[in-house]
């Protein structure tokens, strides 16, 4: 494994992913706010949660990029399309399994089945994250395709 290349392009891909998601929020395409969702696990204070969540998201992205890198190493080569293919799988997992499972993990997220409580008040994402807006699946998919594309295009296997 090319550690230097992973560290650099894993980080760059995560920054691109984060930027793309923030841009889609600003464009009012989705209300999925990964930094807030991650940070609010640890603190209810919005601004602090967003700052902490951004850091966590960067670290998460880096860690997740290891899976991409492992696949590239197994194939013996990287590439734009290979990266995007993994991104597609990654996004599908996030939308179909990751987001709907959040209410079971997140201590401040309401549950679809019994609604909000005094402690759990954050709106759950629902299937495919559709509670956060009808374009949420598309934006998440595109962001992850971008993530995989950057990593695939620039990661050097050797």
């Amino acid at each position: 494994m090319n550690v230097g290349s992973w560290m650099l392009w894993g980080f760059v891909a995560t920054v691109v992913l984060t930027t793309a998601l923030v841009a889609t929020q600003e464009l009012r395409l989705t209300r999925v706010n990964i930094p807030l969702l991650l940070g609010s696990v640890f603190t209810p204070e919005r601004s602090r949660a967003k700052a902490l969540g951004t850091l966590l998201h960067l670290v998460n992205g880096w860690i997740f990029s290891l899976l991409y890198v492992a696949a590239f190493q197994a194939w013996g080569k990287a590439g734009l399309w290979r990266g995007m293919a993994i991104g597609l799988v990654h996004a599908s997992f996030v939308l179909v399994a990751g987001l709907p499972a959040l209410p079971g993990i997140h201590p401040r997220m309401a549950h679809d089945s019994w609604g909000p409580t005094a402690r759990r008040q954050l709106e759950p994402p629902g299937w495919l994250g559709l509670h956060y807006g009808p374009f949420t699946p598309v934006t998440i998919l595109l962001a992850h395709l971008l993530f995989g594309a950057v990593l695939g295009a620039f990661y050097k296997v050797h």
Binding site: R28, R31, P44, D112, W114, P116, Q121, L122, E123
Partner: protein, 623 residues
Amino acid sequence: MTWTQPPIQDLALIGDCRSAALVDRRGDVVWLCWPRFDSDALFAALVDADRRGHWCLRPAPEDGWRVERRYLPDTNVLQTRFIREDAEVVLTDCMTVAGEDDQRRLLLPEHELLRHVECVRGEVPIEHALVLAPAFGRKKARVHAHPTLGLRCEAPAGAFLFRGEVPLSQTATPGAFAARFTLRAGESRRFSLTYSAQAPSVLTPLGATSDDAIRRTVRWWRTWAAVCIYRGPYRDAVIRSALALKLLCYAPSGAIVAAATSSLPERVGGSLNWDYRYCWIRDAAFTCRVLYDLGYADEAEAFIEWLLHITRLSQPRLQVMFDVFGNPSPRERELEGACGYRDSRPVRLGNGAVRQRQMDLHGELLDAVYAHCRRGGELDRDTEQLLADLGNYVARSWRLPDRGIWELRGPPRPYTHSRVLCWTALDRLIELHQERHIRRVKLDLPALFRARDEIRRTVLEEGYDQRTDSYVEYLGGRDPDAALLLLPWYAFEPADSPRIRGTFRRVVAELSAPHGLFFRNPTLRRMGDGGFVACGFWAAELLADGGGPLPLAHAWFEQLLHCRNDVGLMSEELDPATGDAIGNFPQAYSHVGLISVALALEARARLERGRPTPAAVAEEAAP
């Protein structure tokens, strides 16, 4: 029964220092803009009864109830009490707010309108109707009903989430929901509407959590109100006006919007309908002084900072108005198909006056900065240079005709009030220099002195009519103008000078409207203008400042207090025939006027008793 728009004086304001809603005496929220004061409205039935949204929660049937309203003391939490011989229902409405400590401790909605209905006596059917109409009803409401999470309405600007302790059923109209339920003595129900722009919503679990949110909101407003240092005889009126002003202050920037609404008409059925959800530089000097004199230095400083920030963007010319972040207000456009408030069309969004030249703005700004510096404020070098540039512009350009304080859309004229404000700009700039608030940039003092004196000479010669013994609307003109009551306020001439007394007499004789108010000028009077509330306060302030005996000033002021509605709020004007409120509501300028007179009366009373005023003490104590 056909739904009718309420009289303007039946409205009460709730808000969260970012956005506002209006509730009428029937328990109907008829106006709500989220996330900002100037955002598209979710509820706009106030200006379009046919198709726009509203949220009604009241005992049924609608008739047969005596309604009493009040704000919980020293708060912007509204309580409407519906009383009948055998029953009583209390409706509490607020937009929730929280202090920094609570925001650190709790995950709170970005915006929330909370309603709590409680039956005190008897057994009462409650009628509940919610019509969601995003973007003034121009966008189709896509509403998803979830059994445990509530109703979610997706709009281009974000998501609205409704939750209630009684389920609503969809009606045949898209976006409309209704329910009817019965409350018995001691029972209550809570309803919450939240808005989220860019993040997952925070859902209110209602019950005790909502009660806590109301308590938190009450505490927040009371903590703010407790800062007020005014202790005079009109404390209740002053606090109510200060709370209205605070609510209209956009917290993230410090800007204060002129009113919470757009297109409430200056003449019912007419076309004088403007969007006032923007910030006018014109209101700067008055607003700044009253905030300081009430003890709200933080708000005053934030307001000055905002003023200086926006001024930098367009100086040395100044724009008339801005949005809450200092961007030029949007181009004026008409809301297609809206029937307006009681057929007052068109409904306008944005404000066309933004492109006018108004030569009084520099004086307002420099007077506000002067008040800021006199109370301990400091200027950096860039600001000193900015003020110097503004002064140089005024010295060069004071002769330019303009649209004046009343923003008349006819030909520009050399309005006397605007020339006096040009004099004010140069006078305050020179004072700032002489008092060493401006010390790092070089002023062309001889040119400034020369221009200031020339303006004064011109106003005294051409802005004064010997035959009528009064100042006149514009140089060389003959008509009176109620804005000339402000000349002593800017220290152009003492309130007890013969010329000012003559002007006051003429304005009273020719422009008086009922209730101690004035028409603004003869032209606007002919156009059917109402009695302008702020002008009434200017007259009272002129009397309080020495233009007349103190008892007369008190009497005038007390007469003006009747212009307030049952919860102490004022519009821009009163209809001279009916006494009904007209124009946008509530009007910040009217409330600033009320506070300013109360402070002036207190100052005069203390002066006559030989004691310093709280403002003078604060000024003396300032570094």
